[in-house]
Symmetry: C2
Amino acid sequence: MKNYKGYLIDLDGTMYRGKEKIEEAGDFVHRLKDNGIPYLFVTNNSSRRPEQVAEKLQNFDIPAAPEQVFTTSMATASYIYERKNDASIYVIGEEGIRNALEEKGLSLVDENPDFVVVGIDRSITYEKLALGCLGVRNGAVFISTNGDIAIPTERGLLPGNGSLTSVITVSTQTEPIFIGKPESIIMEQALEVLGVPKEDTLMVGDNYHTDILAGMNAGLDTLLVHTGVTSEEDLKRYDKQPTFTIGSLSNWKI
Amino acid sequence: MKNYKGYLIDLDGTMYRGKEKIEEAGDFVHRLKDNGIPYLFVTNNSSRRPEQVAEKLQNFDIPAAPEQVFTTSMATASYIYERKNDASIYVIGEEGIRNALEEKGLSLVDENPDFVVVGIDRSITYEKLALGCLGVRNGAVFISTNGDIAIPTERGLLPGNGSLTSVITVSTQTEPIFIGKPESIIMEQALEVLGVPKEDTLMVGDNYHTDILAGMNAGLDTLLVHTGVTSEEDLKRYDKQPTFTIGSLSNWKI
């Protein structure tokens, strides 16, 4: 088996399940760290800043600096900045996406934006959706941080950002550009941050439709770990299989 | 030309445009009334009670009793009542739909509903959408009062109920049953309330995709009036044409 020189790693379902640590995942990251292998956590969660994500990982005794966290909010901000470095943006979303856009020096506006960005927003209102629709109808480029249709919680599956995004998609009959996994946009940026060539990098995650497809779409080898969304049974239904499949990250030799 | 014995009539774009009366429309309804021809206003607007709709028409000097208004909220309530007369319902929506369901004696609940109903709700919250998704995932029948993607306002086109509904459709991957125009469900019920056989009834409206298709789907003759959404240019693009087309209702002989 190939010795990978870098790892892109998913969070929820791979490192932890909600508020519960996945024990073997912590050991796996400690082994990466001890062996000096670069790794970057790649998440579709747009709601939190990288510092907050790193802190959560540290609380689970998983070694993670803020620089080792790459969120779809950061990918979204970079994507826009590269296209228009003084863009005005109408954003629907929480702290993570607002912060990432402002850190790039982009201006947040309510009217006549160059871009409309939708990330998960648990304080969504009709007025926010209305401003998003008006922006897109007036010609703003429509961007969604990620297309996840549901968020697993202790209450069950709650609406994900892909479902909130659909209000604007359906109302304006305009498809957004999705940034997060399984799209290549976030992966290409993450590879650049990681600094390891793609042929030497492994994408690790629990969700076939986001993590594994993201790896495949970006031309990476992939490792599916059955500690989250995609079960062994689920996996049998798909034509394109991950490069590797394991039950737990303790079985993975680095 | 046939003498129709009953009329089903759309409101916005046909009787008025937002807060502005369409002058010829009022004269047309006065002629219907003077000739003793039954008519019923049929609207996809689920937010108001029939008394409120009638009052708005009366303020434009258009003769309308509350019994001459048939809303998609009333159609939704009847549709559910006929299937389960003691149904429990989780409803997203405004006064019109809540009132219509309660008038049928149906009980409104937050958890474990038999039906999830979505109508336009300008006080939408993430929690309401979450409860809707949880209800549908737990097996509730998913109903939407109407699929209109946008609402014309002085600010522009704002999100319509079809776009709000899509949050639950996308998140749960479950298609709703739509009740309002262009579906036949509302039309069959409206015909029953009007009490005139369908072959003697004309459907009048300004919107090809809702009013005219609703008439066609229910097997009615249709009259498209160009005082609202669908222009003469638009109309040329469609294969199936309305039975009649006019610029203004003052040109319509009853």
